[in-house]
Symmetry: none
Subunit: 292 residues, 2 copies
DNA sequence: TTAATTAATAACTATGAGTTATCAAATAGA
DNA sequence: TCTATTTGATAACTCATAGTTATTAATTAA
């Protein structure tokens, strides 16, 4: 019989698929270029499919190679997770849940969830990472995350979504700003001010909603700064660089020189959803989902 | 640095986990028992977890081992599937076929083709776009399309052409028109009416054929309207703006207030051809061509 | 034309998977 | 108790092959 495929082949394939350059990939793997070339060639022979096109001076993936790369990405993540999980079970834990979240989820849902789960399932461990909407969806698909806390209208096929929190929007102004909760009637009162918002690529749904809040009141906001961190936005507001519109729940958890003025009578809500992969195999996830 | 885990370890682990007996597992794997023992030991060292309990004279799985066995079962299946799928993609069983077509092809050949291919090669995806003859030829040459459904007498060098459907022409008149299938004997009976035709730059072959049909009967049609959409043409006929001559198969698929009267005893036929580029590298195309 | 860059080929070296031979521990049967 | 038997682990080996260095062939850039 012929050779057997090994994880080594997959590792090498991924390096070449990412670098699209045999020597650079070999450097990254700390092996020689001919050794790498031979292993890739062997892999192509075992599978019986050309994975790369070595065209003149550049290397590209074939259609089959593109597919294989995507799947191996998932497979490697799943193997890593499985081994970590095996270690945790050995140590008597019930497993690990990997959670991604937007900064604004850390003020409301996540702490409650953690407290509740920790009480009911004390041997489940958590790993938490702040990530953008987009990266969370990718990570959930790749099996790098079990749960994501996102603000998204739609999610791809194969991903489940459930609303966990609905929040109003608040205007954020410096403490010394003339507006107060009594005099603040409409967002149109600050139509001439500069706006500081979360980046649209951090959360495009949030960004679109802010735009529609302003459009409804008949103006287009002058967006002068964007950030991915609430802390940064508050600091910029405090420094007088402009005003911001954020989910009201962000008022908690930060101690800054800004005022929150809840925007009255608008239909837009900041909706926080939790997402997970339909065919996620982490048994701890099934337990956690019962609490949501 | 320490050893790296390989699929070999997983394979051996699965054999021992199933046999719960090192010698039997070694026999099944066609290796010696000490070799197997050493690989399992190494695997346990890499992961850092005891997977088996060698108790007196019998071998059992630890809790961690039970979990790992279940997951590896899944992982092996997923790897197998991925490699099979990679091979299929290489052979074109999976992938995308980009098809261009004239509106009149959507009533006959394309639906049949799609149903047939979908049955035999369920993993091939289609992208469909309605385009003129001319644009289809261009797109096929540029490798923007894999297949084109056209009505053309000649195609440029490098393009392959094959007839897939031959159709008669029909006269299209309003429902309340005096002519019926019984009284309609010759196109000359409507020589004084206004004609609504497909634009010559949408399909010049069609246009030329209509002209020759009329010429053969000794008159030149008064063309008052042109359109690229059958739907539009039928609406204009329904509204009493004139009569039309179209391929008979267009009778299907539209629900409009017009009558189709097949034109008797004429040599002209509406010929639908499929075109593709000789050196198209889409592997899925080769598969599809077998059905044509 | 020459120089530089790339992957493939050829011939080698040495790591470690798999071998045989053996041991130690445990059981079962007298 | 004393064997005989079954088990996995250990020790010392050998050999298949992953990875090495040196080189070539092909292409591009200067």
């Amino acid at each position: 019989m012929s050779y057997q495929i090994e994880l080594r082949h997959f590792t090498y394939f991924m390096a070449v698929a990412e670098e699209l350059h045999f020597r650079k990939a070999a450097d990254r793997l700390f092996i020689s270029q001919p050794g790498l070339s031979r292993q890739i060639k062997q892999m192509e022979e075992i599978i019986g499919v050309a994975l790369f096109v070595r065209n003149k001076r550049k290397v590209t993936l074939t259609a089959a190679g593109v597919y294989l790369k995507k799947e191996l990405d998932y497979i490697f993540n799943h193997i890593d997770f499985t081994i970590r999980q095996t270690r945790l079970i050995d140590q008597g834990s019930n497993g690990e849940i990997r959670i991604g979240f937007l900064g604004s989820a850390m003020q409301t849902v996540i702490p409650e969830l953690l407290v509740m789960v920790n009480k009911e399932l004390p041997d489940i461990q958590f790993s938490l990472e702040e990530m953008s909407n987009h990266l969370q969806v990718e990570a959930v698909e790749k099996d790098q995350l079990d749960l994501g806390f996102v603000r998204l209208a739609r999610v791809p096929e194969g991903i489940q979504k459930k609303t966990v929190h609905t929040d109003s929007f608040s205007l954020v102004v410096p403490l010394e700003h003339q507006l107060t909760s009594k005099t603040f009637k409409s967002i149109a009162q600050v139509s001439d001010e500069h706006f500081i918002l979360f980046s649209s690529d951090y959360s495009s749904l949030y960004y679109d909603k802010i735009m529609s809040i302003c459009e409804d009141k008949g103006f287009t906001p002058k967006v002068t700064h964007k950030s991915v961190h609430a802390q940064t936005i508050f600091k910029l507001v405090e420094s007088g660089l402009g005003v911001a519109i954020v989910p009201t729940s962000l008022q908690r958890g930060f101690d800054l020189g800004v005022k929150f003025l809840e925007i009255p009578k608008i239909p837009q809500k900041a909706i926080l959803s939790v997402i997970w992969k339909k065919d996620n195999r982490n048994p701890a996830l099934q337990q956690i989902l019962k609490f949501l």
